[in-house]
């Protein structure tokens, strides 16, 4: 019974996308599908944190952006002039930073007595100034190398698909640091700490030009699929287009989007399969036990903080992978576009609406909410035009209402989140078994 219902829900979702294909265009429908796939992966990552363990991460946008950074660092060719100009300096400053942190940690662990705090402070302050003294000139040298085109170190020049796991690793590393600090305290503190780290990650990506050109953006990223222009010139493709009777030019763009969809679907299915396996393993049962009754689980000898750290890292890594995939599809890395409303809270709505604790629910939520988010903008404009059609042309109020219509999306998403949280906290595809979630 419930199985049939879930199949119906997914069928309905694909029917919606197909409807866009018929009504608007297949190109639009496929773009929506690709973003749906990426959103579903992000929602899976958040579901791992919230659904399995009840961890509230408000910094998803930061982990997404780290994935995007990975795409640049892995795929872009290195800039030898920049490396010659400041590579050593950057390397040395990283070493100096590492030595500072190591020395401070050792001091805080080994030392006792009243000199402990002053010594730690001294180490940190001295380390900061030494690092800055090496770092600043190196950055200036790097950013001076052909600033209009490069002005950064470049990447490794490897295939961009490798950036996906690397994005996951970067996100996992940051998650480890944050988790170490904030887990084990009040649950609100993790939320606040993740909110902060996301702001900082975005600020670093916007301002550290030597790393990924900052707000000057990195465009023309490598692609894992062929380019439209190459397809249009290759014989087999023209023959294929002729066989199905399509125009090679428009078909090439659809073909590229289909290839992306195929790649993304593979990643989604792998992560979904792994998540399902994990959820139904003894480990998954333990996680849910911790979530539902932390004290009882602790009394049974489970190390709650450690398990939380584990699940927080895993979930963030999945979000990082999705972030790298998204930047890959965009073909450019634009730090200015990472907006918490779009990347953090939208993903949250996906998980809550889909059904927290259920992987299939998260996937469905990812599809559905992305679809609504994209289609709500034209719908809101249309609605506003309809509502204001009674007002006379050029009325200031009418102009304002029509212009502000896109902001209605935020209101709609917020209202959806609140309504689902209130009236159907288990979401569209509820978690199987277990007791009612404490909501």
């Amino acid at each position: 019974m419930t199985m049939n219902r879930n199949v119906l829900l997914f069928a309905g979702m694909f029917a919606l996308i197909a409807f866009v294909g018929f009504a608007q265009s297949w190109s639009v429908a496929l773009t929506i599908l690709n973003f749906c796939l990426i959103s579903a992966i992000m929602a899976l990552g958040v579901n791992i944190q919230w659904g399995y363990a009840g961890l509230f991460n408000v910094g998803i946008v930061g982990f997404t952006a780290l994935g995007g950074l990975a795409a640049v660092l892995v795929s872009k060719p290195p800039v030898p002039e920049a490396w010659a100009a400041g590579g050593t300096g950057i390397g040395l400053s990283i070493v100096s930073l590492g030595v500072t942190i190591a020395a401070a940690t050792i001091a805080s662990r080994r030392m006792t007595g009243r000199w402990r705090k002053p010594v730690i402070l001294l180490i940190v302050v001295a380390g900061f100034f030494i690092t800055r003294a090496i770092f600043d000139p190196a950055v200036q040298a790097i950013e001076a190398v052909d600033p209009a085109k490069t002005g950064y170190l470049g990447g490794l020049g490897l295939p961009i698909v490798l950036a996906w796991p690397v994005g996951g690793l970067l996100a996992a590393g940051v998650a480890w640091v944050i988790g170490k600090i904030a887990l084990g305290l009040r649950s609100d503190y993790l939320a606040i700490a993740t909110l902060g780290i996301a702001e900082i990650i975005i600020a670093v990506l916007k301002n550290e030009d030597w790393l990924a050109r900052g707000v000057k953006n990195v465009s023309g990223l490598d692609r894992p699929v062929p380019r439209e222009i190459n397809l249009q010139q290759s014989d087999w493709f023209i023959a294929l287009a002729g066989k199905i009777g399509a125009d090679p030019v428009s078909f090439s763009s659809i073909f590229v989007k289909l290839s992306y969809a195929g790649l993304f679907a593979v990643v989604l299915l792998v992560i979904l399969w792994l998540s399902e396996k994990a959820l139904h393993s003894p480990w998954g049962r333990m996680m849910r036990a911790i979530r539902d009754n932390r004290d009882a689980a602790e009394a049974m000898g489970k190390d709650v903080t450690k398990r939380h750290l584990q699940v927080f890292i895993l979930g963030s890594a999945v979000v990082g992978i999705a972030g790298a995939m998204m930047t890959t599809m965009d073909g450019q890395f634009t730090p200015g576009t990472y907006n918490p409303l779009r990347y953090t809270f939208l993903i949250w709505v996906m998980v809550i609406v889909g059904g927290s604790g259920n992987n299939w629910g998260a996937v469905l939520g990812g599809f559905l909410i992305w679809f609504v988010w994209v289609e709500a903008e034209p719908a809101a404009s249309w609605l506003m035009n309809l509502v204001t059609s009674g007002m006379y042309e050029g009325s200031a109020l009418r102009e304002h209402l029509v212009k502000s219509a896109p902001h209605m999306r935020l209101i709609v998403m917020g209202v959806i989140l609140l309504l689902v949280l209130r009236f159907s906290p288990r979401g569209l595809i509820p978690e199987k078994g277990g007791r009612e979630r404490p909501t």
Partner: protein, 337 residues
């Protein structure tokens, strides 16, 4: 000697005066967060957008008054509009409590569910603000701009550095002192305030002594609305109003509330100034300051800025992390950990 005075004035102009104003704004914001935490026991993520909402109403009334030619020159018209903004925000918060939080309170939901609901509320409020006034910068300060101009100061003292005090900065400090005084008088002396403190201390005991929880919650929201609107308006007058900036203020405000100890009003005020002064002192470029103090051949080359202003949020974050690592209860021992 003159160099020393110049250095002090320079620091006063760029660090102390702006730090005091910013600190008061953060303190007012953190007071709202900490009160809601003390009574309702959750971190209210919608507080930044509540500030934005209140300020928006104030701006709309300011424009209306300006169009009618009403003004209280030399003070900004926004002061006249402030009560209306507070009333609208009170209405808004009471409505959200009724529609959103009350249900979870009845259910005795865990605090993380409240936090999530507050994220939803934040979403809606943010949307409303952007819908009504747009996502762009709005300036609404009018009236006289300066209490003390740099030129007048230089002429009066004969120093080469000037000290500027903006009307908005003076107002911020003055209003903050009055508001905090009233709040503490209310919490310490009035019957309702005592009831609130009792409720925050021990909910069950307070209920047994016949304190009405719904009334306490209502008063809390009313105070939070007033504090948020005042803080938002003062910040907007001092800098400018942009919805996204107000959302970003959430981080320093949380940092301030946690540094002082969540749930502790005195701590929120101290925390506000700690965060504000750390932010200003760390992002200030000390080149000119050192130039006055150092002998000529030792003058620094660079800007001598510890951290660029782009990273000012990193400062509040680092403070937050340090507090979480060293003393999670905050300086003044917050109520709950």
């Amino acid at each position: 000697m003159e160099d020393l005075l110049n250095a002090v004035v320079l620091l006063g102009n760029y660090v102390i005066v702006p730090g005091l104003a910013y600190g008061s704004q953060l303190a007012l914001g953190a007071l709202g967060v900490t009160l809601v935490f003390g009574i309702l026991r959750f971190s209210n993520f919608a507080h930044g957008d509540t500030m934005a909402f209140g300020t928006m109403v104030v701006i709309l009334f300011t424009w209306w008054f300006q169009s009618m030619g009403i003004s209280i020159d030399p003070l900004p018209t926004a002061l006249l509009a402030l009560p209306f903004g507070i009333l609208a925000t009170i209405g808004m918060l009471l409505a959200t409590d009724r529609l959103v939080y009350k249900f979870y309170r009845k259910q005795r939901s865990p605090s993380i569910v409240f936090v999530m609901a507050s994220v939803g509320v934040m979403f809606v409020m943010n949307g409303i603000v952007r819908f009504v006034i747009g996502p762009n910068d709005q300036r609404f300060a009018d009236g006289q701009r300066f209490i003390l101009k740099a030129r007048e100061f230089k002429e009066a003292t004969g120093l080469s550095e000037g000290l500027t005090i903006k009307v908005s900065q003076g107002l911020t400090l003055g209003i903050a002192v009055i508001v905090v005084g009233l709040l503490f008088w209310f919490l310490q002396k009035s019957r309702t305030g005592k009831a609130m403190r009792a409720y925050s201390d021990n909910e069950d005991l307070a209920l047994l002594s016949g304190i009405s929880p719904e009334k306490v919650v209502m008063i809390t929201w009313i105070i939070a609305a007033a504090l948020a609107t005042i803080a938002g308006t003062l910040y907007g007058l001092d800098k400018s109003f942009k919805p996204f900036t107000y959302f970003q203020l959430l981080l320093p405000i949380f940092a301030a509330a946690i540094v002082g100890g969540l749930g502790n009003p005195l701590g929120a005020i101290a925390g506000g100034f700690v965060v504000a002064f750390s932010e200003v002192t760390i992002t200030y470029a000390y080149k000119k300051f050192l130039k006055y103090l150092m002998p000529e051949n030792l003058e620094p080359e660079g800007l001598v800025q510890l951290l660029s202003t782009d990273y000012k949020f990193a400062v509040s974050f680092v403070i937050l992390v340090l507090v979480l690592l060293i003393r999670p209860t905050g300086i003044f021992k917050g109520k709950v950990l």
